[in-house]
């Protein structure tokens, strides 16, 4: 019976380079991105958010 629970497993096939204070993106061990070789976590978050439901619901009382 459906439980109303959506499970999405999200394998991310990339190193993650997050934005630094100077605007560059870097990985904590690998250093700064070279030729856009790291995934941008903001973009990944956007994809995950799109996978999930709208942020809020209105309930009449």
């Amino acid at each position: 019976m459906p439980q109303g629970i959506h499970v999405a497993n999200v394998p991310i096939d990339a190193a993650i380079g997050w934005t630094q204070e100077d605007g560059s993106r870097a990985h904590r061990r690998a250093g700064t991105t070279v030729d856009d070789n790291m995934a941008d976590p903001d973009r990944i978050a956007g994809d995950l958010s799109a996978t999930a439901s709208p942020a809020s619901v209105d309930v009449g009382i």
Binding site: G4, N9, V10, A14, A15, G31, V34, A45, V59, G60
Partner: protein
């Protein structure tokens, strides 16, 4: 009849400066109440998220089932029952980085598996279960609860348990996916 906006609640298990922080910012901007759990919730990036986006921080070692149960109880109490749980735990212990599979100590491999894989299991029953709900929230069938486990593993990790070099170019497919979305 007045309407009351009921905010959805998101819980991110595993917090750092990468995907978890990006998710926390985005979900908060979308109007969700967001909690983020980490073994060390006092990381500067998490403190910054609290100040900038009102993210609630929780201390939790998600490899411990009792700690996960207590985490969900605290989140339900503080924010409400989560409708979105992002399991975002890397799991690799510090000593395992940079080692080839033949050099990894079994104890570290076991601890990494426990952190990365087992830690997802205690959280699963907690999302969407009635005990995690508050009385004023919708019944289960009217809701859409989500569990999003993320697995950040560069391609090289499939051939070598621990990548010794992190300058890994994403596969063409994944790069295309990022750019198209």
């Amino acid at each position: 009849m007045p309407k009351v906006a009921v905010q959805d609640v998101a819980l991110i298990v595993g917090g750092g400066p990468g995907i978890s922080a990006s998710c926390a910012r985005l979900l908060a901007q979308d109007g969700m109440r967001v909690g983020i759990a980490a073994r060390d919730p006092d990381k500067p990036v998490l403190e910054s998220l609290e100040r900038s986006h009102g993210i609630r921080r929780y201390r939790c070692d998600a490899s411990e089932p009792d700690a996960v149960r207590e985490l969900f109880e605290a989140v339900v109490r503080d924010l409400g029952a989560p409708t979105l749980v992002v399991h975002n735990i890397d799991g690799r212990v510090a000593g395992i980085f940079g080692k080839a599979i033949t050099d990894v100590e079994p104890r570290m491999a076991l601890e990494t598996l426990r952190n990365a894989a087992f830690s997802a299991l205690p959280g699963r029953p907690a999302v969407g279960t009635d005990h995690a709900r508050q009385p004023n929230q919708c019944p289960r069938r009217e809701r859409n609860d989500h569990l999003l486990p993320t697995q950040v593993r560069p391609s090289k990790a499939s051939r070598q348990v621990v990548p010794s070099q992190w300058h890994v170019t994403p596969s063409p497919g994944s790069r295309r996916a990022w750019r198209e979305n």
